[in-house]
């Protein structure tokens, strides 16, 4: 029973007994156990990553009326492993004039930026990973390293397309970080803590019901942050061939690709944690840590599915439209929402919970409606202006 509730502690105690038997000091034994635990977690994540390749390929093929990988193993499940063998034995070329040190460092940093996100991911009530009291900002800090790796890859490849892709991607990632940070403030206000675990534990009502607009804006900003279509400016294969990773081959390209997929899944997880209660589901998470992990992963997969759905449905947006969308629409709406939420939160602090939740939900819906109406009015005016100029153009 204990093992089901808190498997990590049982395993750690067992290992501590063994290491103590070898005459190891307790501090070093603790660190070694933590190291092993983290190693196992990350190894399992890499395995999940391999499966994500298969899921992604299967889903995209269904979206495009194809079957997808179906030759190797049942439903083509062995296909990603064959891909890995291919990546491993492929020749690794370095382009002429590349900056070798930075060129080799970039894919490593890109993968690391995703893996360290899992340090603050609370998996179960008993497995919180690292319970930092600044967890939300830690997510952004890890994202900064990701942006850095893209710039590094683009600059060191000695390729014009790489450099243009990296710069566009960085500009987009930086811009969309503002609405994302602002939307992270909203769960922080509700929970009274920046810790990701504390935000999960404070969610007796899913924050989605308190701030549906915040959840939507966060998802949009997260997709831009991930560099996925419709915001995949960094790759833009029809204009930049493959963008910042064009000169990478073999395992180094694999790191960028796997990093992107795992990043999308991880952000599905953070979306679930910030707005959909994380591992919590009507007290089921208290039964067993494994059940809690299953709940979290189920929610994360739904988030990942929505990200894929958007990716394979929408077309890529032009970079000027994308940045205008962020600075002229998303950022003002995000700031207005933040001010409204802070105000309503103080106003309804003593109200009964049905009024609190209802008031929050309604204020969000009203704000979303007002924002969309304003955007519609201005885009119609813009459209009429463009149509007016076309009439005078020679035919």
């Amino acid at each position: 029973m204990d093992f089901l509730k808190d498997p990590l502690k049982v395993a750690a105690d067992w290992l501590l007994g063994i290491f103590a038997g070898w005459g190891m000091a307790e501090l070093w034994a603790d660190i070694l156990i933590a190291f092993l635990g983290i190693f196992v977690l990350i190894a399992l994540l890499m395995l999940l990553d391999i499966l994500l390749v298969w899921i992604e390929r299967k889903v995209v093929s269904r979206f495009q009326s194809r079957i997808g990988p179906n030759r190797l193993g049942p439903f083509g499940l062995i296909q990603p492993f064959a891909d890995i063998i291919k990546l491993l034995i492929k020749e690794d070329t370095t382009p002429e004039g590349a900056d070798r040190a930075l060129y080799n460092l970039a894919p490593i940093l890109s993968m690391m930026a995703v893996l360290i996100l899992w340090a603050v991911m609370p998996l179960a009530p008993t497995i919180l990973n690292v319970d930092l009291n600044v967890g939300v900002l830690y997510i952004i800090a890890a994202g900064a390293i990701g942006t850095l790796s893209i710039i590094m890859a683009g600059w060191s490849s000695n390729n014009k397309y790489s450099l243009i892709g990296a710069f566009r991607e960085a500009a987009v990632m930086l811009s969309f970080e503002i609405p994302m940070l602002t939307m992270m403030l909203i769960p922080t206000i509700f929970a009274g803590s920046m810790g990701v675990a504390a935000i999960t534990q404070a969610q007796d009502v899913w924050y989605f019901f308190l701030a549906p607009l915040a959840a939507v804006i966060f998802l949009v900003a997260a997709i831009a942050e991930l560099g996925r279509s419709p915001f995949d400016m960094g790759e833009a294969e029809s204009e930049l061939v493959s963008g910042y990773n064009i000169e990478y081959s073999g395992m180094k390209f694999g790191m960028f690709y796997a990093g992107e997929l795992l990043h999308a899944f991880t952000f599905g997880g953070f979306w679930a944690i910030l707005f959909f209660g994380g591992y919590r589901f009507f007290g089921l998470e208290q039964v067993s840590a494994f059940l809690a992990i299953a709940i979290l992963f189920f929610k994360a997969f739904i988030g990942y599915w929505i990200i894929m759905w958007i990716k394979y449905t929408l077309l890529r947006i032009r970079i000027d439209h994308m940045l205008a969308f962020n600075w002229k629409f998303l950022t003002p709406v995000a700031f207005t929402l933040l001010m409204t939420t802070a105000f309503m939160n103080a106003l309804l602090a003593d109200a009964p919970s049905w009024l609190y939740v209802g008031g929050m939900f309604l204020s969000n819906v009203l704000l979303a409606w007002a924002a969309l109406e304003t955007a519609r009015y201005y885009s119609r005016r813009e459209r009429e202006k463009v149509e007016g100029t076309q009439k005078v153009a020679p035919t």
Binding site: F35, L88, L163, G192, L323
Partner: protein, 117 residues
């Protein structure tokens, strides 16, 4: 023991695993470079001129606007943490803080600095 020890362990393992994967590929893969293989790939056309060309100033402007708002939002995090316990006065202070910056955004917008030209 500080929580940061675990973060440091995550950083170390997060470095070891990609290095291991790339190292394995380095051991297993063939290496027969030749000048044509090492050529820069730019749509199959021979590359012309220097790669590190001058970029348009607009990237710099966006980075600048981003920097200002990044610092602002970071300032707001301690405010947001205590907001539940502080009451209306603190909320008004935060709203004034945000409004002043929104004026900055509006100025940038009016000046046409948010256009991609």
């Amino acid at each position: 023991m500080s929580a940061w020890v675990y973060v440091a362990l995550f950083l170390i393992v997060g470095l070891i695993i990609p290095i291991g994967a790339i190292g394995a590929a380095w051991v297993l893969g063939p290496r027969k470079p030749n000048p044509i293989k090492r050529d820069t790939y730019e749509c199959g056309i021979e590359t012309v001129g220097d790669t590190w060309v001058q970029f348009k100033a607009q990237y710099y402007i966006f980075a600048l606007v981003f920097l200002i708002f990044d610092v602002e939002t970071v300032f707001l995090f301690p405010w947001a943490v205590k907001l539940g316990q502080l009451g209306m006065f603190a909320v008004i202070e935060g709203i004034i803080f945000i409004l002043i910056l929104v004026v900055g955004l509006a100025y940038t917008w009016r000046k046409g600095m948010l256009e991609w030209v």
